[in-house]
């Protein structure tokens, strides 16, 4: 039983999926471009994010309904607090779509990850699909790609705002002794790389950890074979509910952290502190 090893869920997600008898395995040169569960979750997350926003923007009226007002409150919070408060005004206006897109895409992807969906069509028992949870953001490749966009955006916008020389000069504090400047430059370069790593690993690790904890609880419930131990099922299921609730909070907080750190990095590169 594969479910007894929770980590299998993450390796299985990388296998190409079969849809309507088609094995969706593709190669683009040396690069594996197969459609797997991660890609499906990516598409699903992006599609739901786009649909939600398009729907809201279509029904949005000048005199808002209660639902619209609630949604606009979140939208304006992202615009004014997540972006407006950490970036210079002009940069905030230019970078708001990116930061807001990141926040809502990651948030919705994280939340989709908490909903059991029947994506394992082929592996179901007697062709009954298995409902399983998975999140695109629980894959390191997805989070690295998202963090890479922020990484590139940070340095491109920094160079655009300050000029290449001015931007890289900003990596060295002007008050530092000349002998230390080169060392500080290298250290800053390393810290920039680690920002990319920390941004991607933080999101990936939190999502994986949450899903692993839930899968461990499921596995423990399934492992209980004796009637005497059946009494443990209730606290285990209560724990699953508690961890799931906590994961909703984690889904929000991780999306918030990823988005606000992206805004801070890009804002910091545009408006350098010397």
């Amino acid at each position: 039983m594969s479910i007894l090893n929770p980590a299998d869920e993450f390796t299985d997600a990388l296998k190409p999926v079969d849809i309507a008898g088609h094995h969706l395995q593709f190669k683009l040169g040396p690069v594996d471009m197969s459609i797997n569960k991660v890609v499906l979750y990516l598409f699903l997350g992006a599609a739901i994010t786009a649909l939600v926003f398009i729907l809201i923007s279509k029904v949005a009226r000048v005199l808002p309904t209660r639902k619209q007002a609630g949604f606009e409150a979140i939208y304006e919070y992202v615009r004014d607090v997540l972006v407006g408060a950490v970036m210079p005004a002009e940069a905030a206006a230019a970078w708001f779509p990116y930061i807001a897109g990141l926040f809502f895409f990651i948030l919705i992807s994280n939340i989709i990850g908490l909903i059991p969906l029947p994506f394992n069509l082929a592996s179901g028992f007697h062709n009954i699909p298995e409902f399983k949870t998975y999140a695109a953001t629980a894959n390191i490749n997805v989070t690295i790609a998202l963090a890479a966009i922020t990484f590139v955006a940070t340095h491109v916008s920094g160079i655009r705002a300050n000029g290449a020389i001015g931007y890289f000069k900003g990596w060295m504090p002007s008050t530092a002794p000349p002998v230390l400047k080169q060392v500080l430059f290298v250290l800053h370069g390393i810290s920039e790389l680690f920002r990319l790593v920390s941004l991607s690993v933080r999101l990936f690790a939190n999502l994986v950890a949450g899903h692993l904890v839930l899968l461990v609880f499921y596995a423990m419930i399934l492992m209980i074979q004796s009637v005497a131990l059946a009494i443990l099922i209730v606290p285990l299921e209560a724990s699953v509910v508690a961890v799931s609730l906590f994961e909703i909070f984690v889904a929000g907080i991780q999306a918030y952290i990823f988005a606000i750190l992206s805004a801070v990095y890009i804002g910091g590169a545009i408006h350098q502190e010397h």
Partner: protein, 168 residues
């Protein structure tokens, strides 16, 4: 779990890129337009309300000014009327005084005339009586000269002022 798969990264970049394009063009733009439209409408309403408030204040000031002017004019009218009344009163009183004075003068003239007439009548009667009485006392006929002399003497003793005062 940690295997690096460039294909997934490419899918992520493409998916997120398309999502960003769609959000920017079809969601954030229209949504922000609605929010901006609402902000403009609210600003316009505030400006309109301020304009109305300003106009109302102006109208109130104008109204107060009109009230004040009307009050002042009313006071002037009352004052003028009072003055005219006073003038007319003074004129009427003056005229009444003159008229009364005239009446008094007329009355006095008339009294004087009547008194003189009465005195003349008395004078004649006294003369006649005196002649008659004197003739009886003297047993003789008194001449006209005697007669007139006796009348004058008698009249000299009469106090006409007292007669006049008694006539009033």
């Amino acid at each position: 779990m940690l295997s690096i798969q460039p294909g997934l990264m490419i899918y992520t970049l493409i998916t997120f890129g398309i999502l960003l394009f769609v959000l920017k063009k079809y969601a954030f733009g229209p949504l922000q337009a609605v929010i901006d439209q609402r902000r403009d409408a609210i600003e316009e309403s505030i400006h309109h309300a301020e304009e109305m408030d300003r106009k109302a204040k102006e109208a109130l000031a104008e109204y107060r000014q009109s009230i004040s002017t009307a009050k002042m004019e009313a006071e002037q009218i009352v004052e003028r009327a009072r003055k005219i009344g006073d003038d007319q009163k003074a004129e009427i009183i003056g005229e009444a005084h003159v008229h009364a004075q005239k009446e008094v003068e007329n009355a006095r003239d008339q009294i004087r005339r009547e008194t003189r007439k009465a005195v003349d009548e008395i004078k004649d009667q006294v003369a006649d009586l005196t002649i008659l009485a004197a003739g009886k006392v003297a047993g003789r006929t008194i001449t006209k000269e005697d007669h007139l002399r006796l009348v004058d003497e008698a009249l000299a003793e009469v106090d006409f002022d007292r007669l006049g005062a008694g006539g009033n």
